[in-house]
Amino acid sequence: MFGMLLWKEWKENFWKLWFCGAASVVFTIMLFRIRIIPDFSNCILISFIQMFAVPVIYSLDIFSGEISNRTVHLLFKIPVPRWMLFFSKYIVSAAGIILIFLISGLLMEFMSRGREAQVLFLLANNSLCGMAALVLFTWFCAFGCQSRSEADSLVVMFGVFIGWGIVFFWSSVCEVAWAERFVPYSLTLMRITKVGPVWTVLLQILASAAVLAIACYRYVSIRRYL
């Protein structure tokens, strides 16, 4: 049954993978060929844009779309536990996000071939951004899984971005290293060297697991809009 839910989500959201993947590939090839800025900076640029854009595109309508299209009436009444519905959506999106970052990371590595950055450096950096994207997506799920429309989702995402921005600003200005580790943006290169990679990754994984549980709980407890 879970497989069928996964199939449905995969089919329904395949265009996002196709869209983000194609955009990533095209822009990566373009920027790495034009080479106005060095490979490393190109990688940072692409990875950063992806880090924000991919989770936004994935979560813009993944939950709210069902409610605004009223398909939620069918979905919630088929005999499947609600957590399964949530995870089918989450897993498919997460897989999509990972796949997109993997493709662009490998492409960057191939295009650069150690030209201006160490071998595997770009892949590693892009993967960290992918991780941050995944964490951000989890946060979007936690706050946005009950939203009714794309506008609601967008507001939630704005809130998450700015909220973490504020924490980020505060923790870096006041040099509160423990708080900095909780900020998803810390997963990107510069931060990780400052606050220690292992702890940051570990904390992010733990925090994401907790946030995921909250997200799932919130999705399971949707009562309105049915």
Binding site: M1, M4, W7, K8, K11, E12, N69, R70, T71, H73, L74, F76, K77, I78, P79, V80, P81, R223, L226
Partner: protein, 300 residues
């Protein structure tokens, strides 16, 4: 006593401070077509959502086919067929695809039956759902609710938004498909004339409580309107079972429930020159129950 397909006992539900259901009790006999009536916003959909285990009641319980709908939600959903009001399906799937997809969630899905249904309802199998008309959309929703041959079918305002002919067509299909197979149909609507020819049992929900539940025929028999010229000393407010009193010129029309010979005699005694008895249709009965003044505002 016949066995119940659905039992609702003392159901209370509130959205925040607003109490929506204030103790709903209902028995739906097996094999009946049960019309669940009520005005907009009286709690019909809330009752059905609770019945399906989609929300937890403050108190009370719902038993469907012997299963508690809140603790055994999945099993309940597997056994029943449900069709929501204005239900939308995934527009990007074709009809055959969505049938196959939904079938996967029901262990007892009857593919042959579903195929027959699709033919009968005139659903073009390779068309995408988003290209369907409203009527076809409702037919598809019905197919998806019935494909696993459930014993109990719950239809929440299934004909909402359909034109009169499509509505009639739809109901004809429902009856053809279900009545003969002994399936229990729990059917909510606010359109009485569409329920009247179909339902054999009726419950009326008003302000969060069931104000009347009975067999349709029995209801029609027992609710009567009398037109009479009252004696000056007649006091209708103390008369038991009065639903509505209306003064028309010098005459008074009185709608009475549980009408029997005793009540007829009593009423006759209050009249100066005899009285006329009128049989009511379901529409009028519903009106009397829901907006009737119970004789309070009129003392003659």
């Amino acid at each position: 006593m016949t066995e119940s397909a659905i039992t609702i006992e003392g159901l209370h539900f509130s959205y925040g401070k607003k109490q929506v259901l204030k103790g709903v009790d209902l028995e739906v006999p097996k094999g009946s077509i049960f019309g669940f009536l009520g005005r907009n916003g009286t709690g019909k959909t809330t009752t059905i959502k609770t019945l399906l285990g989609l929300q937890k009641p403050r108190s009370g319980r719902c038993i469907i086919g012997g299963l508690d709908s809140f603790t055994e939600t999945l099993e309940v959903r597997r056994r029943i067929g449900f069709m929501a009001e204005d239900q939308q399906m995934y527009g990007w799937m074709t009809i055959s695809r969505i049938i196959k997809w939904v079938a996967g969630f029901y262990p007892g899905w009857d593919y042959k039956f579903a195929d027959e249904l699709a033919d009968m309802l005139g659903l073009p199998k390779n068309t995408k759902v988003k290209a369907l008309s409203k009527g076809q959309n409702s037919s598809l929703a019905l197919l998806l609710a019935l494909g696993h041959r459930p014993d109990i079918v719950i239809l929440d305002d299934p004909t909402l938004g359909l034109d009169p002919i499509a509505r009639k067509d739809f109901l004809r299909h429902v009856i053809e498909l279900l009545q003969s197979n002994g399936v229990t149909v729990f059917f909510s609507s606010h359109l009485l004339y569409e329920i009247e020819p179909v339902a054999d049992h009726i419950a009326i929900l008003d302000k969060g409580v069931i104000i009347k539940a009975s067999r349709t025929e029995q209801l029609r028999e027992s609710v009567r309107k009398f037109v009479l010229t009252p004696k000056p000393e007649a006091n209708f407010s103390e008369f038991a079972g009065i639903l509505d009193v209306l003064k028309v010129g010098g005459n008074v029309s009185i709608t009475v429930e549980d009408c029997d010979d005793e009540k007829r005699t009593q009423l006759k005694g209050m009249s100066t020159n005899g009285m006329t008895e009128v049989a009511l249709n379901l529409d009028e009965i519903f009106e009397a129950y829901v907006i009737g003044n119970r004789g309070r505002e009129l003392s003659v």
